[in-house]
């Protein structure tokens, strides 16, 4: 299963109980944005979502692998707290300070629901520069 959004893309890898996600992009930040898109696409089809809600979030993290987990979990926490589901993401970084935004909408009755994502784990966690202008971020998410 592969989804393309301009230069960014996401896909999934096999895991017995949960779901492995892979986000790709030209930059580290884009790869993280793609990983977020992969995680939220497990819960709802992004093509059916509107962007009526915008949520800012930030965190501090030195370790870029743990930053992926922090980013995904910050998004999941914000979404579940507000009862919304996100479809688009933006992330920027200044040293160890990360600032992001997510756009989506509150859950509505006619949305086809997927499976709830409980959190991002450290299993199969990796963030790699895979070539010129090519980054890949992956981990297993618990569903």
């Amino acid at each position: 299963m592969e989804q393309e959004t301009s230069a960014k893309s996401f896909s999934y890898f096999e895991h017995d109980a949960d779901v492995g996600i892979i986000g790709r992009g030209e930059t580290l930040e884009e790869a993280f944005e793609s990983a977020a898109a992969a995680a939220f696409a497990v819960m709802a089809d992004p093509r059916s979502l509107r962007e009526s809600v915008e949520v800012p979030l930030s965190f501090t993290e030195d370790d870029i692998e743990l930053a992926l987990v922090q980013w995904l979990n910050a998004l999941l926490g914000a979404a579940h707290e507000r009862g919304v589901v996100f479809r688009r993401f933006a992330l920027s970084r200044d040293g160890s300070r990360w600032s992001g935004r997510a756009w989506g909408e509150p859950w509505r009755g006619d949305l086809e629901r997927g499976t709830e994502v409980k959190g991002a784990t450290l299993t199969m966690l990796s963030v790699r520069h895979t070539g010129a202008a090519r980054w890949e971020a992956r981990c297993v998410i618990d569903v």
Binding site: D16, M43, Q70, H80, E81, G83, R113, T121, L122, V143
Partner: protein
């Protein structure tokens, strides 16, 4: 799994062979897997890697153990059991408990027979689907303040009963009598509490379910009599956990304990095994939060049990819907166990595994004490589930633990490639099983064929001396998120 890496030590027990050239520091690390050759061969090699990693954690007592339903998890395998001695630097691991802290099964027995249900089953299924909040993004009928949530985290199922959800007497049949000691709501973040404000009394999604079942077969008449079970009787099983609060606690402590490990002098074989000594500020902080999440889960299942009872009362005003038992299977608890000839206080992690106390254990309700603790192996929506009873041999073999489910045999994406939700719902209806689900994708991911054969798991659980089969339950109605 490559069986060449295992040494069979009994008909149902396998020990992981030591790798040639393994460092002397790892000579004490031992891991044991239970099951037959077929079950083990079907497990991913990652199960072996994960249980071997668990065996390297500080303060482990005895081997790290994998139950017959084990499958690849994160940190611990699902179906992993490990006991640690705090007096020997033993640890508590957030990855050994998991994100859905105290996920478990509440099993309700009724005084209804399957014939009474037959013509009403479709309407009952519709009503349960309407009355039981389920699915991602679905909230419950309660909206709690942070102060009220603190009371939930301190009081567990007792809080729910005080709020009118059920009867005091049924708490006898809930682990910890409905409320675990040592909960510290102040150790739980505000975000975790905010996530839970609308989620009390909700089922969730994924492998969570509410299932109406019929007792199809009795395997142990004496234990069945003690549990109040008879052939043809209607039961209800509710599988869910601590919802967003537990997920958030797991999330936060996984990262903070992974970062703390180096400072605490713990070399983690896998960062997902993030842990801290039980006797450390970091460990104590997590234990207080984990216990709060256990109480959250106990309260959640208490509310859902009451909502179920209310729906049944609409169709069957004279029905008795009582708690048979409530077991958790993602926990770490302090328990006294015999090690050699000494009784020691150990912290027992069960990640996707169930407590299975033997007959006579003081924590078993008096009504069941002579036959052992009820153990529930929840199967898939198309096959069935088992009620088992704790046995004496499980204490020496697995710290009185047993399997918790059928265990996945393939990934969710493999399942999505093989099945379509709507077709599964139709084919199960033809077999007399009514599915009500908000997510057809979720139904496909949970296809019966995506799970191991529950009969073999239950047989292996009994063969390995972990618990003995009491009754087989066939599904009639399954409500999923």
């Amino acid at each position: 799994m490559d069986l060449e890496r295992l040494e069979q030590t009994g008909p149902w027990a396998w020990r992981v062979k030591r790798e040639p050239g393994a460092p002397a520091s790892e000579t004490r690390a031992e891991a044991v897997l239970y099951g037959d050759a077929g079950l083990l061969r079907s497990m991913d090699d990652k199960v072996l890697e994960q249980i071997t990693n668990v065996a390297r954690l500080p303060g482990l007592v005895g081997p790290a153990l994998a139950m017959p339903d084990a499958h690849w998890g994160y940190g611990f395998p699902i179906g992993g059991v490990a006991a640690f001695d705090p007096e020997q630097g033993g640890i508590i691991s957030a990855g050994g408990v998991g994100f859905d802290i105290s996920c478990g099964i509440r099993c309700l027995r009724t005084n209804l027979a399957s014939e009474q249900l037959a013509h009403l089953a479709p309407r009952l299924a519709d009503s349960l689907y309407r009355d039981i909040p389920a699915g991602v993004g679905v909230e419950g009928e309660l909206r709690l303040s942070i102060a009220e949530l603190d009371a939930v985290l301190a009081g567990g199922a007792r809080w729910a009963v005080r709020r009118g959800y059920g009867e005091e007497a049924e708490l006898e049949y809930v682990e910890e009598r409905g409320c675990v000691a040592g909960a510290h709501p102040e150790n739980v973040s505000q975000l975790a509490k905010k996530r839970q404000r609308g989620e009390m009394g909700t089922l969730g999604s994924g492998n969570h379910y509410l299932e109406v079942q019929v007792v199809e077969r009795i395997d142990d008449a004496a234990a069945a009599a003690a549990y109040g079970l008879s052939a043809g009787q209607i039961l209800v099983s509710i599988h869910c956990g601590s919802r967003g609060l537990g997920h958030q606690i797991g999330t936060e402590f996984l990262v903070s304990l992974a970062k703390a490990a180096g400072r605490l002098g713990i070399a983690l074989p896998d960062r997902e095994l993030a842990c801290a000594p039980v006797r450390s500020p970091e460990g104590e902080q997590y234990i207080g939060a984990m216990n709060a999440a256990i109480n959250c889960a106990l309260a959640n299942r208490q509310i859902l049990a009451h909502l179920t009872r209310r729906t049944f009362a609409h169709f069957f005003p004279d029905a008795r819907v009582e708690t048979l038992f409530d077991v958790s299977h993602n926990t770490c608890k302090p328990e006294r166990h015999d090690v050699g000839r000494k009784s020691r206080l150990l912290w027992v992690h069960r990640k996707g595994a169930t407590r299975a106390f033997a007959p006579g254990h003081p924590d078993i309700p008096e009504r069941y004490r002579n036959v052992g603790q009820p153990v529930i192996i929840g199967g898939s929506m198309g096959t069935g589930s088992y009620v088992l009873a704790g046995v004496n041999s499980s204490e020496a073999r697995a710290w009185s633990s047993a399997s918790h489910g059928a265990g996945r045999a393939m990934s969710r994406h493999q399942a999505l490639r093989q099945w379509q939700g709507r077709q599964l719902v139709d084919s199960l209806r033809e077999r007399g099983i009514l599915i009500r689900a908000r997510s057809m994708r979720g139904v496909a991911e949970e296809a019966p064929g995506a799970y191991k054969d529950v009969d073999r798991v239950a047989e292996a659980t009994e063969g390995a001396g972990l618990a003995r089969r009491v009754a087989f339950l066939r599904p009639l109605v399954c409500v999923k998120g």
